[in-house]
Amino acid sequence: MPILEVNSLTVDIDGEAGRHRILDDVSISLEAGEPMGLVGESGSGKSMTLRSILGMLPPGASVVDGEIRFDGRNILSSGSGGRFDQRIRGTGISMVFQEPAIALNPVMKVGRQITDAIAEHRGLSKKQAHDLAVELMDRVGITDPDRRASNYPFQLSGGMRQRVMIAAALAQEPQVLLCDEPTTALDVTIQAQVLDLFRTMQQDEGLGLLYVTHDLAVVAQLCSTISVMKDGQIIEHGVLQEVFDDPQEEYTRRLLTATPRIDEDVAEETR
């Protein structure tokens, strides 16, 4: 049974120019431990799909149809209210945001940001929360975590901030990690390091990964399945290698040729 299921999700948004469909009959099925890439150009609805899984649609957006199931539980049902079960946040699904520079609270120490949610849930003491934060920071490869924990985000480098965010996502011990272009805002060398971190974590801990990006090279390194989005719809889905070798859609083909050819070996390695 898939751990995360999005069934024919349809979302509209009220904008200046009237009502507008941003997600159209989107269905995704993610098995436990499966790393899936979700690719498409900007505005195709990738980020919106991720955000709707955590019930964080922008103001004016409403769910017209569809449901989302996590671990067999229905967390979002459509209809008039379009109720979203907020309890799902932090108890199975975590999210890593695109820009750590704006996604971390600028006026709170990073250590506290990593564990504040889990500390609240479990009633951890300050000391326990701090120790946990340090442990998590160590795990995501932050050197000198004890000192870094009492830094503010502006005192950290971009790559370090992204590691903090990953640590915060891991703190909830998720089964599925949603990643919204988490390396786009980083330098190329740092990008490689962070990607490496994602891969190790995914493999070591059997994390389900829904990885949004426009970069097919990243998908090739990290994912085993791929979904292609265009204009709010998923137009193609399949096992990574099959889609890469034999894309069914013209759009996917163009996307593939537009990207510098990916090293086959790297793609193999991740399978």
């Binding site: 955590l54 964080m56 946040r89 006026v107 709170m108 849930h121």
Partner: protein
Amino acid sequence: MGKYILRRVLLMIPIVLGVATLSFILMKLAPGDPAAAYLGDKATPENVAQLRQAWGLDEPMIIQYLQFLAGLLVGDFGQSFIFQTSVLELLKLRMPATLLLMLMSLVFAVVISVPLSLWVAAKRSAASAIVSRVFAATVQGMPAFFVGTLLILVLGVNLGVFPVGGYGSSFGEHLYSLVLPGLAVALTICPVLIRSLTAALNDSMSAEYTNFALSKGLSRKRTVIDYAFRNAGITGVSILGIQVGHLVGGALVVENVFAIPGVGSLLMEAVLARDYDVVQALTVIFGVLVVLVYLLTDVVYSIVDPRVRLGA
């Protein structure tokens, strides 16, 4: 942080000097002769000339200017002829009421604006937006004296709950007398305050860090307090600081409506009686007061914002 504050203080000096200079120039442009005004109608030209010499009014302009600056430094602001006392004495007498009024207005303004802004920002509904906009647009157009008069009408004359003027003689009476004036001043700065605070709150509530906090499963309450409010609050410090000019302006008008013996009504009395030294001194003092509050705001800001405190 120390460096930041030091820089602010250094930046303040030319502005204070400019404030003093502008006040001096304005007074020299004013028609009439302070010495003649001081002595009244029956003074002989010789008497006036004597007094002009005693006050240094026949000195070259640059000397007068330097004497004026020197006087400011030692607290010698000149003489008031309507009250026949030194301006410094008048200030000591009148300043407390104005400061208390401003403080009270600030408290009222915060008590009104903060919950309203929170409500608008939290609701994010069309209704709350319209209510707050209509309130702001309505109050914004009301001159402070009109708000004061309305309050007198409703709460003072008709309901008789609050005194319609005066200042009382004990501290308790002072506070009680200042309720309506304070409310009048507060209401005039509320529209701007609500607008800026709502904007700051909206920014922080829709900020990515708030989304991130929610995505971690942090409760809504904690998210709003630790993420949205903490950030909006820091912006709020400067928003409040900037209101001081309006606060002084409002106090100036409202003191006259409610006959409160503060420096605002003193300024009006001095202007109407052409009491030069008092007008000049108050002009400088109001300007310096505003600059000082800006400085204070910057200091508070540098304490509450870690980016400034730790030197980003």
